[in-house]
């Protein structure tokens, strides 16, 4: 009885807070121009949020004078444009300024760096120009349409927000697992965090690696499977935290991971594996000839599916979550805002599950492919 009373009270408080927050926002946004613009703005914000960024923004706001204030810190920009160019991203002033390095000018547009003239002119292919002009009136460089600038793009190896986050996660993982490994030197019983992590390590070994690869051959793949499992999981989870960065919604990141799986599969594949690709045993010769290119393509499709699955799941989750949060600003009433708050809350819980599930699926399928690569001939 007491519990249910308490939870009812809690829900009431949450509703109140949500309503209050939305009410606060109404006041702040009265200067905005109508619901249509708001929708576009939310969509832009979501698109922007999902993109990588050259500086680490914690949050930004607009002052009463209409000036954008950014709270965060700049990150190093590393370009390869006839030689290495390194400078701080603060030179861009969040895309509002042109950075000048050794007589070359670079402009940040749509979170990508383009080589420009001193005025930072971005050239577009003809008809896009009008639309861009309209966007500029907002005082932001956020563009909805897919206008392709024709400016030269230098090779960008910048330490972006995502790279910083990957570094942080890598460092965190290294420190945690290193300290866990050190504890084992004293006694073979896990202690501290190891009590939580050891069952997970054993789960990867006993439920993922051993059933898919086999008792004898799983050992050489364990390092990769464990690393990828914990990396994806931790980075997904931290991507859900308010100040965390969503890294796995970048196709480049999932591509890198899937490529490693592909390379390991290809380079550890035994004779039997290649025989099943190029000369499938047990089928007539014409079928063998038809199957060979399909199987060969299959080896590429498998890691490709890994890449898309992880990318799409995480991206979709974040888009839906942010859209639901965005509903709060569109409804602008006492029913819609708490509703959107509750939906967002429920979806966040689902996302926690998805974070772990995607890590599991990625590791599981990688193990499955490794298992295929080292499977012995049973015929």
């Amino acid at each position: 009885m007491r519990n249910s009373f308490f939870s009812k009270k809690l829900v009431a408080v949450i509703f109140l807070i949500a309503g209050f927050v939305s009410a606060q926002n109404h006041e702040g946004e009265e200067v905005e121009t109508g619901a249509h613009d708001l929708k576009t703005q939310i969509k832009e914000y979501i698109d922007h949020h999902l993109l990588d960024s050259h500086d680490f923004n914690l949050y930004s706001y607009t002052t009463d004078e209409g000036e954008h204030k950014y709270i965060g810190f700049p990150l190093p920009v590393i370009l390869w444009d006839n030689g290495l160019k390194v400078f701080s991203s603060s030179q861009f002033e969040h895309g509002e300024n042109v950075a000048e390095v050794n007589g070359n000018y670079y402009t940040l547009y749509h979170n990508k760096i383009y080589k420009t003239d001193a005025e930072g002119t971005i050239n577009f292919g003809g008809h896009h120009a009008e639309e861009i002009h309209e966007e500029d009136a907002f005082g932001e460089n956020l563009v909805v349409d897919d206008a392709h600038p024709t400016n030269e793009k230098p090779l960008d190896f910048s330490i972006t927000k995502n790279v910083v986050f990957i570094m942080a996660v890598a460092l965190l993982m290294f420190l945690v697992f290193r300290s866990m490994a050190k504890r084992y030197q004293k006694s073979t019983m896990p202690r501290g965090l190891g009590r939580f992590l050891e069952p997970l390590v054993l789960f990867v070994r006993d439920e993922i690696a051993v059933p898919n690869i086999g008792e004898h051959k799983h050992k050489k793949y364990m390092s990769y499977l464990l690393t990828v499992f914990f990396f994806v999981w931790v980075i997904n989870l931290l991507g859900l935290t308010p100040l965390g960065v969503n890294v796995t919604n970048n196709i480049a990141v999932t591509f890198a991971l899937a490529m490693i799986t592909y390379l390991i599969t290809t380079f550890t594949g035994n004779k039997n594996y290649w025989k099943h690709i190029f000369w499938m045993p047990g089928v007539p010769v014409p079928m063998k000839i038809i199957l060979a290119p399909i199987e060969l393509l299959g080896t590429l499709i498998k890691p490709f599916s890994l890449m898309i699955r992880l990318y799409a799941n995480i991206t979709a989750g974040h888009i839906v979550l942010m859209s639901i949060i965005g509903l709060m600003f569109i409804f602008k009433n006492w029913i819609g805002s708490p509703l959107s708050f509750l939906l967002a809350f429920a979806l966040s819980l689902l996302e926690l599950l998805v974070a772990a599930l995607q890590a599991y699926i990625f590791t599981m399928l990688s193990a499955l492919y490794f298992g295929m690569a080292v499977e012995e001939d049973h015929h």
Binding site: L51, D52, I78, D146, H148, L155, D156, F157, S158, I159, T160, N162, V163, I166, M167, A170, M173, F174, F177, R178, M180, A181, K182, Y184, Q185, T188, M189, E198, V201, L202, R205, K219, M222, S223, Y224, L226, T227, F231, N250, I251, A252, V253, F255, A256, L257, M259, I260, Y311
Partner: protein, 166 residues
């Protein structure tokens, strides 16, 4: 798809690959190998301990079986010993009985022989005494008889009458 390719950042790909591979090798050396090694060592330890316990149990069973066997043998031996002792006792008793019988018989025979000889001696003695007594009586009678002439005559006549010439 076009958007995906548009979004693809070579720089991020490069850093992800570099950092992930570095993390992979660092963790392999400093974390996974020691952790998995320790876990395997522990699992082997547990397995060994279980095996040892099983072996000890078996040995215990063997020892119990052995001791039971020993006990059974000892019991059998005891039974055999008791039986033998009983037999020895029986034989000793029966031998003693036999010997006693023989001895008794011997004594009885001896006694009988002694009695016989004593009897004979006594009879002989009685005979001698009777003979002497008879002679003394006869002497007295004859003295009496022969005190007168008539009587001596008569006697001679009687005796001559008795002695018939055969």
């Amino acid at each position: 798809m076009e958007k995906l390719i548009e979004q693809f950042s070579l720089g991020l790909f490069f850093w992800q690959l570099l950092l992930f591979v570095a993390l992979l090798f660092l963790l392999r050396k400093y974390a996974w190998k020691p952790i998995l090694g320790a876990v395997e060592k522990r699992e082997e330890g547990i397995k060994d301990a279980l095996d040892a316990a099983e072996a000890a149990k078996k040995e215990m069973q063997n020892v119990t079986a052995d001791s039971e066997k020993l006990l059974r043998e000892a019991r059998l031996e005891r039974d055999a010993l008791l039986k033998e002792a009983r037999e020895i006792k029986d034989s000793i008793v029966s031998e003693a009985k036999e010997q006693a019988q023989v001895e008794g018989d011997k004594m009885i025979k001896k006694a009988q022989a002694t009695i016989e000889s004593e009897k004979k001696a006594a009879v002989a003695d009685i005979k001698a005494q009777v003979a002497n007594l008879s002679i003394e009586i006869a002497e007295k009678v004859i003295k009496e008889e022969l005190s007168s002439k008539g009587k001596q005559q008569k006697l001679v006549e009687d005796m001559l009458g008795d002695i018939k010439l055969n």
